[in-house]
Symmetry: C2
Subunit: 215 residues, 2 copies
């Protein structure tokens, strides 16, 4: 089903909008996309800032003009519209456990990888932090810290996956979407599951086989 | 009501555990607390790492030994156990909107203030990043960036509060808990609502008057 009365401001290459596209695909939904080229600075154009003053993607615009940003906020909205398949949890413990793993993947994975990327890629030399606002010159020491902690995230993920097929609730959830997209994003900064990460490698392949992985 | 079969690993001074204590208080609940002195490094003791290998607080331990970390994951678990008063949203848009504002307060507020604090306070000279893992020497340029973006967060909060009494859904929610605790945390790094922030000042006073603010 297409939600043709909505628009999703997107960037095909970027990890956060991909989380929403993949989430929608798992629900069997699609929303018309509007591409925003962050690398070229299109997220800082007056046109885009009129949609989202924070200058980040993704942003979902509803038929009545109301706006939601933040990937996981958009995913939760979609889950409430279309509850099945359930991706955020059914009972109290599942809800807590899925949120816990989702946030671990974001804070230990995504944020460190983003720090490594944004503070080393030449295109972002004056935009080390995402979004609109003052210039934030890249901080090489932060890129290094991101590498160090990104590696720790990968090692801990390997350990977690030694005892489970999926991160939470015994089934594929939004936490796995974040983890999978982090694993792909990590390659941008040279962090890859290697011979020390057989569980991560198998997990990534398991998710990549899902049709939503191509969304 | 006290949930005496649970334990919440806490640190009285720290902002994240305070979010959970305040959330519990809004629900009329209390959980026995175990103090963990992060500044003294108690979060990195073998005893605590056996509870939470990531070495962060808060951590909730259930009667059956299952463990949840991440403040917002614990809050969502509590919301599912005790749905009223509702703090995370009733319908799809509320759920999305509250999550959006909650995350803006975390990412634009809490994370920048934490970066400013952890990368400048002498007690954290070798622990610029929270939790267990490799040493992360403080990065002074990151403390500066945290100040710069923390100030932007405060200014944007002022703007948002010009048109609303509460951040989302027209009532007090978890997003306001995060915002309020961020405002107190921001003082640690010298960021305060001043004459340019009358809406923030009134908002802070409004929340401080709630009994849960003392939790």
């Amino acid at each position: 089903m297409r939600l043709d009365d909505m628009r999703l401001y997107d960037m095909k290459m970027a990890p956060n909008p991909r989380r929403v596209r993949m989430f929608l695909a798992e629900k069997g939904l699609a929303v018309p996309l509007v591409e925003v080229d962050i690398q070229a600075g299109a997220n800082l154009s007056p046109e885009y800032l009129a949609v989202n003053p924070r200058g980040v993607v993704p942003t979902l615009v509803l038929a009545d003009g109301r706006v939601l940003d933040e990937s996981i906020a958009i995913c939760r909205y979609v889950e409430a519209l279309r509850p099945e398949p359930n991706l955020f949890g059914r009972d109290a413990f599942e809800i807590g456990e899925i949120e816990q793993w989702q946030r671990r993947m974001e804070f230990d994975g995504m944020f460190n990888i983003a720090a490594a990327f944004r503070n080393s890629a030449p295109a972002y030399a004056s935009r080390g932090a995402p979004g609109s606002g003052p210039e934030t010159p890249a901080i090489p020491a932060l890129a290094e810290r991101g590498q160090l902690l990104g590696r720790q995230w990968l090692d801990r993920l390997e350990e977690a996956l030694a005892t489970r097929e999926w991160l939470a609730a015994g089934r594929f959830t939004v936490a796995d979407i974040t983890a999978f997209i982090c694993l792909d994003f990590a390659k941008w900064v040279g962090l890859r599951a290697g011979p020390d990460h057989p569980n991560v490698t198998a997990y990534h392949a398991r998710i990549k086989a899902r049709p939503s992985a191509a969304a």
